[in-house]
Symmetry: C2
Subunit: 472 residues, 2 copies
């Protein structure tokens, strides 16, 4: 944030703001100020301890229609102002961060559920609709939208699309990409195009929808999405499998793969994670075991599924229990938000994915990582698809600055990502690259692939208008 | 095929062939000749009655390694010779057609199953592996590869990827795109790149894998693919639902959607289709009803699924039966290849997809189409995803040329496609655009979208080396 003083806006943005005032006063565009400071960050990059928020943020626009988005993009193109698309700002990789010479286009007011068609199994929504709001709307109809990032209560469908968000249930139902059929997108020249189709299938031309899903706002702004919806399963059941050690639990993931059961959710919590949850909630999970596979089955034949799963897990030493509905609810809440981080410890989070068979190897590498860097390392894993969220922590000594996270945590996190790469994994399973993981992405992708990605970016956004410095 | 005489090859290709002989004699490249004539066509465009096959075909290369593919692409680039990637040639839209100034790169000898990892739920295969060969390899392991185009016995995984092939089971398991995790691809500059990831999830950079899937060979040549494999379902069951009329059967598709059952396969066969199958096989389907929903359920809770499905279908007038294993096998064989076309009739096939709720509307439009053009129109539908395969026929009068299909059939087919577009459908659900549907694709996609697609093509293949004149 090497921003000039607040009164000397760069020519581009100030000219744009003047043009809005003169030509398009109906557009709600806020000039950079302390009030827009929160739009400089996302949830993964915002200062955790309050510093920095007095600095002016970017300009922020709140369009209410696709046409207004087009007008904003055209004005930005005319004055050479970078455009940063923004959903709820709940991202963790810096994809929505913005500087005070940039124009944030917020989807806050593009929040209409345009249509729900149970007969076509689709919903048409604007990008600012919260994931939770869509599912609340669908539940009375006996339907649901499958992708469920942990942020589902606060994140938007548009943000989920920008990051190709994963979640817990995607072990069975696929990630966001598998649930998006069509998009309306504003391109860098301000044109509004529809890509994809309302039918489930369609192969007319290159698959631009999949290209936009996960593109982190560098190709255009999604102003409407046609997404797949599904009938709520006839039954859901939560099964716990506790193990004597993290290693035993991690090894047991393979037993589920070797069975014919495909749970909707398979969450693996290692020993330090269980300790952390118990410490914050007095929940007593550790009295049941040192590692936990928290599993949701759904669909037809729930008894058959439970029996086959139980047999598979008991054969590898698990203590298996079917949880009551009330206990299940508690367990899922503990999984989603039970572990408090940041109180008394520095921490750095992660998001790697590895081939399923290598999950156990990643956990097995934690002790060496801890020894090398003097930090604590633990993780939960979406075990059904090999996606781990490691947490690296270090107690803050008395008198130390909580805001200054020691480099050793980041070094350990980078080492962990490299360990994932070395077993055929990827630097981000679902959070995206944003600003935070660009260097690591460069370690995963060879130069020729990066050149190809940049060529596609350039083909669709030759002036580099959208979200420069992100993702690629 | 305005080809010059066989002895006067154009400079580009003859120079390339000389260079192969001089520099790379290990490459198996056949010069244009009558023997290569079959490589000028695919299954959808080959002359049905033998004419035209005496004309020389394109040059054809049979690389055995990715390195040889790279060498061929570099030579083609050097001499400005267009490259047409080709799998089994079983495509129906002309995507693999080639002229005698072009170089076909066949994947016939890139046919190794490189790896099967049940623990990672993936297989790594070369593009020339037949879909059926992969599944034969997987079955003893209790695994299967889900996408099952009707051509699965003769089509290759590479061809399936090029067309983003659908099939019967994709109602439940998704199309080819949902089963491809990573690709090794030779780009237009001859470089070999790996895109995607061995993990189930991954969001590092733009999703180039999805861009290549369905790109019909215009972006590069796939030389290896990492695909998802799944455990064979614990149970499979075939259910038939016969109806008193095509309209009643088409309307009943919505009853399945409204239930909570999601069959692995839902095939709808209308009255003329049943008549055609019976005529060719003496199978007696029409004695059971005038339209048929042929359904496969799979997975856990097969009894529960059968009960809910039966209730849903009987409520809309179906005569429902659970078929024995032997009867089921017969029925699926009749569905896949029971109707003989082309004996005594001209015919034109189709492949449109519409939103599920509009399937019945498409069938309801057939009588008007028949009246307007004086042809017969019928269809089978992959009803689970709104994908219809219409067949338009006209008896060949005595003395008429079987090879000269009257324009009226094509006009009727185009009208049918436009009817699909008018209800929010697409001009191709799974066969692709190739050469055959480029004009219709231009009716579906607005110019700005076509410009964007061409810009991406140009970004990856600036000289237009790969499969010019196809898909886009």
């Amino acid at each position: 944030m090497s921003a000039p003083p607040a009164t000397v806006l760069r020519t581009g943005l100030s000219a744009l703001l003047e043009a809005v005032a003169a030509e398009a006063p109906h557009l709600d565009v806020r000039a950079p100020s302390a009030a827009t400071a929160p739009f400089a960050w996302d949830a993964g990059t915002a200062p955790r301890h309050g510093e920095g928020v007095e600095v002016d943020g970017p300009a922020v626009a709140f369009p209410t229609t696709a046409l207004e988005v087009q007008q904003l993009v055209r004005l930005a193109a005319r004055y050479g102002v970078s455009v940063v698309p923004r959903g709820a700002g709940s991202g963790l990789s810096g994809g929505a961060t913005a500087t005070r010479d940039q124009l944030v286009v917020s989807t806050d007011r593009l929040d209409r559920i345009v249509e729900v068609s149970p007969a076509d199994e689709i919903a048409v929504v604007e990008p600012g609709v919260l994931n939770a709001a869509l599912n609340e709307h669908l539940a009375p109809l006996g339907l649901f939208y499958a992708p469920d990032p942990a942020s589902w209560r606060i994140s938007t469908i548009g943000g989920n699309i920008a990051t190709n968000a994963g979640g817990l249930r995607c072990a069975k139902y696929g990630v966001t990409r598998e649930s998006v059929l069509a998009l309306d997108v504003v391109l860098a020249d301000g044109s509004l195009v529809s890509i994809g189709h309302r039918s489930i299938k369609g192969v007319t031309g290159l698959d631009l929808v999949s290209l936009f899903v996960g593109s982190e706002g560098v190709l255009g702004i999604v102003v409407a999405a046609t997404v797949r919806i599904r009938p709520l399963p006839v039954a859901r059941r939560t099964v716990t499998a506790f193990f004597a050690s993290t290693a035993a639990g991690a090894a047991a993931i393979g037993a589920i793969t070797a069975s014919r059961v495909r749970p909707s959710v398979i969450e693996f919590l290692d020993e330090p994670t269980l300790d952390g949850i118990d410490a914050a909630n007095d929940s007593g999970l550790r009295t049941r075991g040192a590692a936990l596979l928290l599993i949701e089955l759904d669909g037809f034949g729930i008894e058959e599924q439970t029996a086959e799963l139980t047999t598979a897990l008991e054969a590898v030493g698990a203590r298996v229990a079917v949880e009551s509905e009330a206990d299940a609810e508690t367990l899922w809440e503990l999984r989603r938000s039970g572990r408090r981080l940041g109180d008394g410890s520095w921490f750095v989070g992660g998001d790697v994915a590895v081939p399923k068979s290598r999950i156990a190897d990643v956990f097995a590498g934690f002790p060496a990582l801890e020894a090398r860097y003097g930090v604590a390392v633990s993780a939960v894993a979406h075990a059904g698809d090999g996606n781990l969220h490691p947490v690296i922590t270090l107690p803050i000594p008395a008198g130390a600055d909580p805001a200054t996270v020691p480099a050793v945590l980041h070094d350990a996190a980078d080492d962990l990502v490299r360990a994932a790469l070395s077993v055929g994994g990827t630097v981000s399973g679902e959070h995206g690259i944003g600003t935070v993981k660009r260097d690591l992405a460069a370690e995963e992708l060879i130069e020729r692939v990066r050149i190809a990605q940049l060529a596609i970016k350039h083909a669709l956004d030759p002036a580099g208008l959208f979200n420069p410095g992100k993702a690629l």
